[in-house]
Symmetry: C2
Subunit: 212 residues, 2 copies
DNA sequence: GGTTCACTCAGACTTGGGACGGAGTAAAAA
DNA sequence: TTTTTACTCCGTCCCAAGTCTGAGTGAACC
């Protein structure tokens, strides 16, 4: 008989925590040693709870899961963090992996999948949901992003274009001449393969470049 | 002693359903008569399950909650539907209310809140989460939306502007003259209070006008 | 019958946008 | 040291963009 795997649940939805407990209570080899309703709370309490595996939601009110994952791994590099979220968009997946998450599951996962993932994470193995994996490879494929070709200055100019500013306003904002602005603007157009400033702004929005 | 309130749970997350069951199983006056993992499945099965109150998630793979709510209320106008979701953005709240939902709760709600909402819904009373209510009144306040001032034709033109098309392309697309396009474009500018087509495109994206 | 409104188009006009070519400086890479 | 790259700026030229005024049509409304 092996030791029980000690896990911690981090999710701001009370009912998700309850649901997970209902899931995992049927498992003999798993023991829930604690839970947290926010990322910050998890960071504060994981050391005293001493879990081996953490089930972490991403979107939470007080301290998101990615930041919490980073901070936890900074203090406990061997901790296994399983991301358990409702979303599988690129903006979430990449930072989560970068932050050091061991696995990435969707909340649509069945109890068996989650239990399997916990066991695998405990043994140091990664589990990525199929849909998430698709996004992942798709994201890697599109790597030659035209936007990255822009220089720092050109990115500033593009941002101002996407704000709807004209060349004179951009020049005033950046304390440079209008002619210089035009040079940057033209360079942006050729790099992004667009015809005018409106298309450049459209490019910026459709690629979510400046979504703050 | 009153009769038990018959409820149905609609959510594509297995664990949320489990969590809700764990919540509600402690309540004497509530009985779970069925569940569904998608909107379409809910529409197909609610008639045979005969619930009095339905707890409905909004975002689901197969048939979203708003569409399901509409279809259910078309067949059973007295059904009480409680929306139970993770989000509280305008694009979700308004259509849900329009669709006829009785209450709107967030998944961060506690078990007491949910149980209370079920009882109130059963008695025909509405419960709106505080944050959702804020969005709601904020949404009503901003009612004079410039975009709605646009005519049908002007909206078409604005969409093409937001696609990055120039006046000649717009004219060709709509089979009208360039002069006519210019008329529409100028009218759009004055109604949206913007200076040029780039700002109009920015307006469209920042207000999520054409997010398909 | 008259009024309003959306849609269409025209001519005349001004201006900002953008292309093209040229050029200087400073810093980093080779 | 030479080369490359990013950033800056100038002048010229052309055209699309946008304003303004005016006007005709058909549908809807009263």
């Amino acid at each position: 008989m092996t030791e029980k795997i000690k896990i911690m649940i981090v999710d701001d939805h009370d009912m998700v925590r309850k649901g997970l407990k209902a899931y995992l209570s049927t498992e003999e080899n798993i023991e829930i040693v604690g839970e947290a309703s926010s990322g910050n709370q998890a960071v504060r309490s994981f050391e005293s709870l001493r879990p081996e595996v953490i089930l972490m939601d991403l979107i939470m009110e007080d301290g998101n899961g990615i930041e919490a994952t980073k901070q936890i791994l900074a203090k406990a590099p061997l901790m296994k963090v399983i991301i358990l979220t409702s979303f599988y968009d690129d903006e979430q997946v990449f930072p989560a992996i970068e932050a050091g998450a061991m696995s990435y599951l969707l909340k649509t996962a069945s109890s068996e999948e989650i239990i399997q993932a916990i066991h695998k994470a405990h043994r140091g193995k990664t589990v990525i949901d199929g849909k998430v994996a698709q996004k992942l490879v798709a994201g890697l494929r599109k790597s030659p992003q035209p936007f990255d070709q822009l220089t720092a200055r050109e990115k500033e100019v593009l941002r101002l274009i996407a704000d709807g500013k004209n060349n004179a306003e951009i020049a005033a904002t950046l304390f440079i001449g209008i002619k210089t602005v035009k040079t940057h603007v033209s360079s942006i157009f050729s790099k992004l393969d667009v015809a005018d400033r409106t298309q450049a702004a459209v490019y910026a929005y459709q690629n979510h470049l400046f979504t703050k």
